[in-house]
Structure formats: structure tokens, C-alpha cells
């Protein structure tokens, strides 16, 4: 179920739908003067997206929670958006399969709509399997209640425009997905998670760089600290042939540790700056950060900063463009969510036209 306490903005009602047809009916029968609609799953990640500027009707897709098709030999499946990511992972594991994308909380639909996991995933070949490649196609509904399909169920198709890619990271502003077609991979033959702690800054950056640029890089690697002056932690995961995993662990003198459950970033009371930094600029970024700013970044440019307070966050936001970094504030009070670095006016214009074309009634908040 959707957690009714997940919303820190005014919600007139929470409506649950149990099928695509119910969603179409709800949207088609909607009063034009009714409050806009906020699509949600469990509600666990509502604070990671900008808050609506007026009261909304929350429409929960959590009831659409089936795996509608699983073809292990074709390495594809179709799921409804309200399926919990954890439930999908369990079902796939039974068949020796997985979604090549870091585990996350909440629903599969929410994961793609937010578009954070599976963007910059990992260096090396697996990096190419970001969210845009995992999502092969979808069925969805526009705010006016028109159902449509895009993409396909097979692993390759370039027929039509890839509107399903537009869904990734759209935060429910373009359409509500009702079925997602996913690309799968076999479970790795061997895997090992590692972690090195209490590293000096240069030591951590050097290890992070070496791992990223290795001939057989880890599929996930992250660098983190609670203060830009250190100490630092480097954590990651090798996957693949047993001999390669073993050799890489030995080469970098890494100790195995247990895989972690996805953390709930909302438990940290500090606001977060989430963005992209070219990995080679990471050192420069660290040099600009005020003391007591916590830092996390992954091997292909995704990063999150936790400034000590609002003043620090504002100061960081002002300096980020100078180091080629793009970022946005989340996990903060509604009024500040969505503040970010400046964006290209041409891209903004195209986005505005897309919203005007695909959601002319401004149904989705």
C-alpha cells in the first residue's frame, strides 16, 4: 500500500487503482477543475522529487504489482509498475536472472520514473546497461486518459519513437506507466563485494580511479566520506568469471564484505544535492566543498552531497557549474526541492513543448 504519511505536501485524497483500465477510466472521467494527479507507488521516494505547487490527488499504482511475463531464455520480462523491486529481484533470482541495476527501495515503476538507479551504473561493459537499455518498452497512459505503447518486448527494436526512454526520470510528469518490458541478464558466475575504509583523500581518489579504469572494472564502485577532508571509504563489487573476481580482489588487496541492503536516504535529516560530475573532476569538486559536507559518488559520475545546512547547500549550488557539475536539491522541505544548477535554455524549451504536447491539461503534478 501507499504510505499516507509519505507526502509532505497537501494531498486531497489517495486513490488506488488495480488495473490499467481503471487508471484510464479514472483519468478520462476526471473533472478538468479537479486537483492535479501525483502518481505514486509505495510513496517511499516522494521526497526525492519536487513538490507540487498546489494540492494534488495521489493516485497509487501499487495495486498493479504483477509480473505479467517472464521469459528466462529470452532474457526479458514484463512487469506492472507497482511491483516491489525486491519482489522482482526474488522472482528473477529463482530463475538465475537479475536486473542489472543497483537494488533500490520501492516499486519498479518508481525506480524508472525517478531514473536515478541505473543511470550511471558502472564502468566497463555493464555501464552500457543503464536504465535506458533495461527498459525495452512500455504501456502507459497520458493525463487525458489515452493509453499507448512504445518500444517492444524484444531486446532490440528501433520502431517508432522511444517514448519509454522519456519515461525514465520523468517523475510521472509525462505519463503513468502500466506495464514495463525489461531486459534481464543471467546471475553472475561469481561476485564479491569489497570495502576499504579510513582512507586519506589522495589514497581514496587513487584507488577509485584505478578501479574505474581497470581492464575488468567492478560493476559498482563508490567513494564516500562524511567530510571532504576525510576519512574516505571506497566500496564496490566485482562480478563475472570466478578467476577474474579472485584476481581483482588480490590485485587491489581488497577484503570481501557483505552486500548491503539499499539505504533509505530519507533517514538522513540533511538535504541532498544529487547530480552528475565527470569523474576526473571529482578532486576539484571535493576541493570546493565546505567542511562537514558528506559526499558519495559512483564510478560513472553520479554523486550526492549532504551539506551541513541550507547556507552551505546554497553556496555549493553556486559553485558547481564552475566545475562542470549539474545537480538538484532533494530530500528537503517542499519549497527547496528542485532547486538546481542552471540548465540549457534550448533543452528547457523542448521540455516545455513536450509537456504542452503530451500533458496539455497539466494533469500530472
Amino acid at each position: 500500500m501507499t504510505n499516507p504519511t509519505a507526502f509532505d505536501f497537501p494531498v486531497t485524497e489517495v486513490t488506488s487503482v488495480a488495473s490499467a483500465a481503471e487508471l484510464v477510466e479514472l483519468l478520462q472521467g476526471r473533472d478538468p477543475d479537479a486537483p492535479p494527479v501525483r502518481i505514486c507507488g509505495t510513496g517511499s521516494r516522494q521526497r526525492e522529487v519536487p513538490a507540487p505547487d498546489r494540492p494534488v490527488q495521489a493516485v497509487s499504482l501499487r495495486g498493479l504489482d504483477r509480473i505479467t511475463r517472464l521469459d528466462p531464455e529470452d532474457l526479458t520480462c514484463s512487469v506492472e509498475p507497482g511491483l516491489l523491486r525486491a519482489d522482482l529481484d526474488s522472482a528473477l533470482a529463482e530463475k538465475g536472472l537479475r536486473l542489472v541495476c543497483p537494488r533500490s527501495r520501492g516499486t519498479v515503476g518508481g525506480m524508472f520514473a525517478l531514473g536515478r538507479e541505473g543511470l550511471p551504473l558502472a564502468p566497463g561493459p555493464l555501464a552500457t546497461l543503464g536504465a535506458r537499455a533495461l527498459l525495452l518498452g512500455m504501456s502507459a497512459v497520458l493525463g487525458e486518459g489515452v493509453a499507448f505503447r512504445a518500444g517492444a518486448r524484444v531486446v532490440k527494436s528501433v520502431a517508432g519513437f522511444d517514448l519509454h526512454k522519456l519515461f525514465v526520470g520523468s517523475r510521472g510528469r509525462i505519463c503513468a506507466a502500466t506495464e514495463l518490458h525489461l531486459k534481464l541478464r543471467p546471475m553472475p558466475r561469481a561476485a564479491e563485494t569489497f570495502e576499504k575504509v579510513d582512507l586519506e583523500r589522495e589514497e581514496a581518489l587513487s584507488l577509485f580511479r584505478a578501479l574505474r579504469l581497470d581492464d575488468a572494472p567492478p560493476v559498482e564502485v563508490e567513494l564516500a566520506c562524511q567530510d571532504p577532508s576525510g576519512p574516505f571509504r571506497v566500496r564496490g563489487r566485482f562480478e563475472g568469471a570466478a578467476a577474474v573476481v579472485r584476481s581483482r580482489m588480490q590485485l587491489y588487496r581488497l577484503d570481501a564484505t557483505s552486500p548491503r541492503e539499499p539505504a533509505n536516504p530519507a533517514e538522513d535529516p540533511r538535504e541532498r544535492l544529487f547530480g552528475l560530475v565527470p569523474p576526473s573532476s571529482l578532486g576539484a569538486l571535493l576541493a570546493t566543498l565546505p567542511a562537514r559536507t558528506a559526499v558519495w559518488c559512483d564510478g560513472t559520475g553520479g554523486f550526492a552531497l549532504r551539506p551541513a545546512d541550507e547556507a552551505d547547500a546554497n553556496a555549493i549550488l553556486a559553485t558547481l557549474p564552475g566545475v562542470g557539475v549539474s545537480a538538484e536539491l532533494d530530500l528537503t522541505i517542499p519549497a527547496r526541492r528542485g532547486l538546481g544548477t542552471p540548465r540549457d535554455p534550448g533543452a528547457i524549451l523542448v521540455e516545455q513543448r513536450l509537456f504542452a504536447e503530451l500533458d496539455p491539461g497539466k494533469v500530472f503534478a
Binding site: P125, L129, F148, V154, D162, D215, A216, V244, G324, E351
Partner: protein, 483 residues
Amino acid sequence: MSELARALTAELGPQRALTTPEALLAYECDGFTIHRRRPTAVALPETTEEVQWLVRLCNRLGVPFVARGAGTCLSGGPTPTGDALCIETARMKKVLHVEPEDLYAVVQPGVVNIRLSEHVAVHGLHYAPDPSSQSVCTIGGNLAENSGGPHCFKYGMTTDHVLGAVVVLSDGGIAHLGHAAGPREPHGLDLIGLFTGSEGTFGIATEITVRLSRNPGSVRTLLASFTSVDAACAAVGDIVASGLTPAAMEILDQATIRAVEASVYRAGYPQDAGAVLLVELDGLDEALDEEAPEVEAMFRRHGALRVEQAKDAAERKRLWKGRKGAFGAMGRLKPDLYVLDGVVPRTRLVETLREITAIGERYGITMSNVFHAGDGNLHPNISFDGRDAEERHRVEEAGREILELCVRMGGSITGEHGIGTEKLDHVPLMFSEDDLDVMARARRAFDPTGLANPGKVLPARSSCAETSKWPHMVARVLAESDS
């Protein structure tokens, strides 16, 4: 001389503004030779500013424009459907910036695919998407078509390697899509994801940021011959089920083998084989030392007649030569070649290929198959003489039936070649009127003037489901593919 021709010549000079019928002849089609139409003129810009000027000129004169790379597209993507200015990017061939540490490069659209890999080889890097035409096709064309290639099974399509682009929109505006550190900005839509594969209908990319991949430590290329395509497909099924992810798995049928072996692309494939399967593994030696014998054992379990493993780079090149040259080799069979591009779930390859053979026999056409077996991406190739109207009609009808079959099997009418003009009438096999309407709305956001490569990707309303040339077929296939 038309106003368009006068303006082009004045701005670009006669070397970069082609307006005579003889000069335009080379632009009347791409690799899809069934549809031909000469553009009104051809311009060869060198910079983003020149492309912007050309698009603004088109706006002023109300002339549509069509971007073109090397013209290797196989679906008619850069062939105009009416009067249009062809904007060829052949002179925009600079690698603008390489960032080896961050694994990306910024290139102009006319950079030839393989030249980029050669350019960054010094850093131990390469550009992964490798269409068969990679020695001539351009990155801009790859972006427009979302090109694939033999190594898609492991490395993905062009869309998985494009991080951003500077785009001239159809109204002459410029948009910067994506980000060098990732394909989508943290607070924006994935516009570059939507742009990729839009076949020039969303504007013209003038600078493209692509992801570079590290060269694998080692490569093992194996070739196995089998008595039948069925046996080769079964071996592929075993490889996938084993959990291995080869970089490529390619099958050539007997007709293709014989065409290749009779051509300059001769690779030493056994001509008595029913099919050959080319499998490439890449990674570190310690992994490949285990995986290559495993693959070989799977070949033998399925009755491989002969198994060969390349011992060095020269042998690897030879084994690939036949595959990469397959389409060229077929040029010897008849004057024209129609390369189809259907996709089916990999597990339905065998039954699909049997039906395709039956279709070919029914229409009395010369057909051969070469395909990306790991992806279920089929390329039935029909050799024909386009001067013979009756034969051309049979070829088109057979092609239509094959694509209909692919959709009925739960697949797609195109895996990597695009819709272009070739498959416009087949689009309603996959998408309903509502689907296409939503896509048309998305297109208007990029192309509000309607001048960017009109008549591509989305069929004109008159050829959608209800009024298609094959309305009964469309209704049936849509119903079956839903089930």
C-alpha cells in the same frame, strides 16, 4: 536557378552547394534502393553555425530538410519524400575532444564510426557500436538510426553509448541535450534518449558526446560449422542458458556462406555447411581460458562439423571478414539487395526462419540469411533486379510477409535499420492509431515546423491502421501480438 540554389551557392560556394542534376544523382537513395528521390539541392556545412543558417534558410523558404551522413542507411532514412534540401555532414568530420579519464569523446556527426575507434586507440579505448558498415557509416547517422551491430548482445545499441548532443532544431534553435557525465541531467528529461533513433525528424545533431569503452584485455573468436541453422541456433541457446555473455553471436546460412566464399570477402568458411556460427568472447585471459573451451564443448554437443579458434589478430580479422562483407558479397548475386531487419524473441528463431524460407519459396525469390543470433535480430536478404517491376513487387510482398511474421512472433519490424520509408506501411503492425498519435505529439515538440525529414518514422494518417494497404493483416497482427 531557384532561390534556394542561389542562396546556397552564395553562402557556401559551388563546392559545398550541389544543385545540378548530375551532382544530385548520388543522393537519390541510400542502401535501400527501392525508394529513390533526388533532393532539390545538397549542402555540405562544416560547423554548427552553418547548419543553423541552412535550417533558417529552409524555414524562410518553407523547404523541408533531410540530414545525411554516408548514405549507408538501409531503410531510406536520408532519402527525401518530396522537395527537400539534403544537408550532408560529410565535411563535419572532426573529433573535437577526447576525455580518456572520463571515457567520452565529442565528435562532429560526419566522423566515420571506425575512425573514432582508431582515433582513441592510443588511449586503449574504442567506440563500441559497430554496424557492418562501420568503415564508412558516420556517428551522426548511427545516432539518427540508433544503429546496432554484431556486438549489441553484450554492449548494447548506439543509444547506450550516446551521452549528449548539440542539436539544431527545425526552427533553427539550438538545444544541448544530455551531459558528458551521463545521458540525463539530474533534473531534466532524457531528451537525448528520445532524440536517438528519431531518424532526423527531431533536428540535426552537430556535436555528439559518445561514451568510450576500454579495449578488452583479450579476445577469443570461434567459428563453428553446423549441418543446419537449427543446430547453430540450438548452440546459441545453450550459450545463453549457461550464463555466458559473449560479445557477439552471429549466424550465416548456407546461401550466405556460398555468396561470401565466391566473393572478395572469402573467409574460408566451409561451403558444405548448413550454417556457421561466429562467437566472440572478450575479457581477461583468466576468464577466457575457461569460457572458450566451454563454448567449444557446446558447439560439439550440437554436432559441430568443424570448430576453429582464431590464433591471432589476422585470423580474427579473416573470420570476421566474411560476416562483415556478407552484404557486399550478395551484390554479386543480382543488381539489387533488399536487407530486411526483423526481430523475434531469440527462442523463436528456428520456427521463424523456417517460415521465412517458406515465404521465399512461395514468392520464388533469391534469399539468404545472416543474423545477430544472440539478439534474435534477423537479416533476411533478398537479391533481385530492381529493373524488373514484377520481381520487385514479389520482393516487396515477401518482405511485408516476413515483417508481419516477426511481429506475430512477438517481435519488431526493425532491430537496427530504422523505419525510413521502407517500413512506413508496416508501422501499424506494431503500433495503434493512439500510439502513433502520441509519438506525433512528441515529434512536434522537437519539430514544430514539420520541416525536419518529413514523411519518416510515422506513417501519414492515411496509411494508419484503418486505411492501411493491408487493413486485415494489421488488425490480425495487432490482436495476435497482444495475446
